[in-house]
Amino acid sequence: MQFIKPGINLNFVGKRKIAFMLSLAMILISIASLVLHKGPKYGIDFAGGTLIQVKFDGPVKLADIKSGLATINLGKSSVQGFGEHSEHEYLIRTDRSVMTEQGFSLEVQKTLASSTGHGVDIRRVEMVGPQVGKDLREKALFAMFYALLFIAIYISGRFELKWILSIVMAGALMGAVYLLSIFNVSVPYLIAAALMVTLFLFWFLELKYAMGAIVALIHDVTITVGIFSLFGKEFTLPIIAALLTIIGYSLNDTIIVFDRIRENLRKYHKNPLEIIINRSVNETLSRTILTSLTTLVVVLTLFVLGGGIIHDFAFALLVGIVVGTYSSVFVASPILLAWNTRGKK
C-alpha cells in the first residue's frame, strides 16, 4: 500500500508565500493572545495554590458544590468539571496554599458531602507554596533554556559537519549568557537573548541549515504556546515536558528533510536550488506523513482515553506534532531558499 506515489511532485516551494503569510498570522495571533491574557496562564505548579480533585458517587450540581465551598474559608476559588462527565469528578482550585495542614481535606469532604448530599472521595490534593511555585517556574525556564542551548550547539555543527564552528558557537553563547547573568537578568530575557545571539551567529557564520531548523523550532513552540493560551489552558510541569518533546520532534522532521536536500544537492548539483528543495520535500513526503500519522494516532488515543490528568499534555503534543510537521515542509526549507536568493542579489 502507498499513499504517496513515487513520482509525486507537488509544488510546495511555490506555495511558500502563502505558507509564510499563514505562519506569520498564526504567530501574530499567538503573541496577541499571550499579550491579551497577560502572559501564559500558570497552573498551580507555577502560580502556587491548592488544587483538590473530588469524585462524587452520583450526579451533583455545580451550584451545590460552590455553595458548600462558600461556607468554608477558601479564598479565591473556582470549580470545574474534570474528565468524563459520567464520572462526576470536579477540580476545585484556590490561590491559597497554606491550609492543607489542619485536616483541611477532611473539612472539604464533610462540607461537600452535606451540601450536595452525595458521598465524596478526595482523589487528589496538590498544594504548592508561592516560593516553590516560583522555584518551579525558574526551573522550567532553565530547562527550556538549556534545551535550546544544547540543541543550538548541536545543529550548528551537525548539518555541515563544521564541528569547530559549533565549538565557537558554544563559546559565544556561554559567553553571552555569562555576561547577562552578571547583570542578573531574569530567565525569560536570558532565553530571548540567547535566541537572538544564536540567530545572529547562524547568520554571521552562514549556517543556513541550522538557521532554517532553529526558525522552524521557534515557530513551532510559539504557535503551540499561543494555541494553549487561546484555549485558556494552563501551563504546568508536564506541559513544559510536552514543549521540550515538541522541540525534539520538530527538529527530527527538519533534519530528515534537510539531509535529503544535501544529498540531492550533491546528486543534481546543476539544478537550481528551488527544484532540489521541492524534489527533496516530495521524496520525503511519504515518510513525513506516515510518521506524523502514527505519532498522531497514539497521541490521539492518549488524548481520548488517557483520562483527565494527561489530557492537556496530550493536547499540547497533538498541536505540536501538527505544527511541527507543517513547519518542516513549509517553514524550514523555504528559509534555505530565502537565504540563497538573498545571497545572489
Binding site: A143, P238, I255
Partner: protein, 528 residues
C-alpha cells in the same frame, strides 16, 4: 557485507539483550518467578503523599543563641559578675550591658575563658557603662543551620520508620529543604501531623508570684511568658483554652529521653504517654523536683501546655507522664515523635501532593488502555501499509516496549503517568526509524535494485539520519531529566529509554531479520 558468521554473532548479541530485558521484566508480571525487584510505580500511579518541607534554620540559630545567653547568665552568676541587661536581640545577637570596672573585667575574663567562639560585633562605653553585642561567626552559624537540616532529616526518617511506611523516600532537596515521599499512605493528615510537629518537650515552672490576669492584659513580668493549654470538653465538644503564666527558663527538655510509650490510665481509662529519662535526665529531674516541691511544673510540648501538676515530692526513678485527652492514635504518634526526638527547628510544608489509591489505579488502567489501543492501531497500520516488512517492524515495536520495561526495572527507575505517556509516544515515534528505512528501500527497489541491494542501501543511507534525528529528542529528554521533578522525570526516563530502544530495534534487530531472510534463506522477493 554481513557474512554468515557475522550474522550469527549479531543474532547472539540481540538475543542476549532481549533475554536480559525479559528477565528484568518478569518480576513485575509475576513476583514469584524471579526475585529481582519490580518496576517502581510513581506516587501518581500507586497513590501516596509527596511533601517538600523547609526547615526554619534561622530558628535553630536563634535557639542556639538563646542557649548560649542562658549559659552566660549561669556563668556570670557563678563568677559574681552582675549585668544590667542581657538579652537576645534581632534574633541572633546577644546584647549585654555592664556597669562598673569590676563587672567589666570579670565579664571579659569570663568571655575569654568560656565563650571563645563568640564574635564581638560592637563594644562601646558610656561613662562606666559598657554595651557589648556578640554573635556567632558566619561559618559557625552556617554550620549550625546545616546541622539543623541534617538532624531534621534524620529525625523525620526515624519517625516515619516507626510509623511504618513501606519504602519511604526521604532526601535533601537544596540547602534547607527535605523531600518526603510516602507511597501508599492513606491517613495523610496523621502522617503530616507526625512529620511536621517539632515535638520539643520542655519542663518549665509556673510563675506563681505574679498575676496571670495582669499578664494577659499585657503586663508580662520579665523572664516569664503566657502559654496556653487546650482541652476538649467531651460533653459539649468545645475546645477550651486555658492560659498559664510560666517562667521562660527551661529546666529540662526531652533531649534526655530514653523511651516514650503509650499506656492506659486505669482510673480514667484514657491513654497517656509515659516517658523514661536517661541517667542524667533522671538525676536532673530528681534535683528539679526536690528544689521545687509544692510548686507547679508545666509540661510544655511545642509551646502548648499539656498539664501543670503540683510537685508533691522529689521524683526519683526518672519517669514522667504526659496526659491530655489523647485518642490512642494521637498518643501513639506523640510517643513516636518523642522517641525519635525533637526537630532542631520548626518545619514548614511548602509543597504537598497527595494522590488517592483509587485515582492511581484509574490512571494505570487508562494509561494501559491508551497504550494498547494506540499500539494496536500502529501495529495494524504497519501490516496494512508494509505487509510482511510491516510485521517485522511490529515485532520490533513489541520488543521495544519490553526493552523499555526492562530498562525501567534494571535502572530501578520510576514509572509515572507521564512516563506511560512517554512509552505511548515512543510507540508512535519508534516506527519512524523503520518507516524511514522502508521508504528508502522502496525507492531503491523502484530504481531497479534487487531486494538485497535495496535493503543494504536503505539501511546504509538511513542510518546516519536516524541517529541524528533521535539525538535531538534525546537532548530534550536529558535536559528534562535534569530539571524535571517527579512525574515529569518519569516521562524523561521512558522517552530516553524509548529512543535508545528504538535505535537498537530499528538499526540492529530488523536489519538482522532482513539479512536472515535475504542472505541465509536466500529469499528473492521482498514484501514491502
Amino acid at each position: 557485507m554481513g557474512s554468515l558468521n557475522n550474522l550469527s554473532w549479531r543474532a547472539l548479541a540481540v538475543f542476549a539483550v532481549i533475554i536480559i530485558a525479559i528477565i528484568y521484566v518478569l518480576p513485575t508480571i509475576k513476583p514469584t518467578w524471579w526475585p529481582h525487584k519490580k518496576i517502581n510505580l510513581g506516587l501518581d500511579l500507586q497513590g501516596g503523599m509527596h511533601l517538600v518541607l523547609e526547615v526554619d534554620t534561622d530558628k535553630a540559630l536563634e535557639g542556639t543563641l538563646e542557649r548560649i545567653s542562658q549559659e552566660i547568665r549561669d556563668f556570670s552568676r557563678k563568677a559574681h559578675v552582675r549585668y544590667i541587661a542581657l538579652n537576645r536581640v534581632e534574633g541572633n545577637r546577644i546584647s549585654i550591658k555592664l556597669q562598673g570596672q569590676d563587672n567589666i573585667d570579670g565579664f571579659d575574663k569570663l568571655l575569654d575563658k568560656e565563650f571563645q567562639g563568640l564574635r564581638i560585633l560592637s563594644r562601646s562605653t558610656d561613662g562606666d557603662v559598657l554595651t557589648l553585642t556578640l554573635d556567632l561567626p558566619e561559618r559557625e552559624a552556617d554550620q549550625i543551620k546545616k546541622m539543623a537540616t541534617d538532624q531534621a532529616l534524620e529525625t523525620i526518617r526515624n519517625r516515619i520508620d516507626q510509623f511504618g511506611v513501606s519504602e519511604p523516600d526521604i532526601r535533601h532537596q537544596g540547602e534547607k529543604r527535605i523531600l518526603v515521599q510516602l507511597p501508599g499512605i492513606k491517613d495523610t493528615k496523621r502522617a503530616k501531623d507526625l512529620i511536621g510537629r517539632t515535638a520539643l518537650l520542655e519542663f518549665k515552672l509556673l510563675d506563681e508570684t505574679h498575676d496571670l490576669n495582669a499578664a494577659l492584659k499585657g503586663d508580662i513580668p520579665p523572664g516569664s511568658e503566657v502559654l496556653y493549654g487546650t482541652k476538649e470538653d467531651p460533653a459539649t465538644r468545645r475546645i477550651i483554652k486555658t492560659p498559664y503564666l510560666v517562667k521562660k527558663r527551661t529546666l529540662l527538655t526531652g533531649a534526655h529521653l530514653t523511651d516514650a510509650k503509650v499506656q492506659i490510665d486505669s482510673q480514667y481509662n484514657e491513654p497517656y504517654v509515659s516517658i523514661d529519662f536517661d541517667k542524667k535526665g533522671g538525676r536532673d529531674f530528681g534535683r528539679i523536683t526536690e528544689a521545687n516541691v509544692k510548686k507547679r511544673l508545666a509540661i510544655v510540648l511545642d509551646d502548648k501546655i499539656y498539664s501543670a501538676p503540683v510537685i508533691q515530692e522529689k521524683i526519683t526513678g526518672g519517669k514522667a507522664r504526659i496526659t491530655g485527652n489523647f485518642t490512642t492514635e494521637e498518643a501513639r504518634d506523640l510517643a513516636i515523635a518523642l522517641r525519635a526526638g525533637a526537630l532542631p527547628a520548626p518545619v514548614l510544608i511548602l509543597e504537598e501532593r497527595t494522590v488517592g489509591p483509587s485515582l492511581g489505579t484509574d490512571s494505570i488502567r487508562k494509561g494501559l488502555i491508551s497504550m494498547c489501543v494506540g499500539g494496536l492501531l500502529v501495529v495494524l497500520f504497519m501490516i496494512v501499509y508494509y505487509r510482511a516488512s510491516g510485521l517485522i517492524a511490529d515485532f520490533a515495536l513489541i520488543l521495544n516496549v519490553i526493552l523499555i520495561a526492562g530498562g525501567l526495572a534494571a535502572f530501578q527507575a520510576t514509572l509515572t503517568l507521564p512516563g506511560i505517556a512517554g512509552i505511548i509516544l515512543t510507540i508512535g515515534m519508534a516506527v519512524d526509524a523503520n518507516v524511514l528505512i522502508f521508504e528508502r528501500i522502496r525507492e531503491e527497489m523502484n530504481i531497479g535494485k534487487t531486494p538485497r541491494a535495496a535493503v543494504d542501501a536503505g539501511y546504509n543511507r538511513a542510518t546516519l539520519t536516524i541517529l541524528d534525528a533521535n539525538v535531538t529528542t534525546l537532548i530534550a529528554a536529558l535536559v528534562l531529566f535534569q530539571f524535571g521533578t517527579g512525574p515529569v522525570k518519569g516521562f524523561a526516563v521512558t522517552l530516553s529509554l524509548g529512543v535508545i530502544a528504538s535505535l537498537f530495534t530499528a538499526l540492529i534487530l530488523t536489519r538482522m531479520i532482513f539479512d536472515y531472510y535475504l542472505i541465509k534463506r536466500k529469499v528473492k522477493t521482498l514484501s514491502i
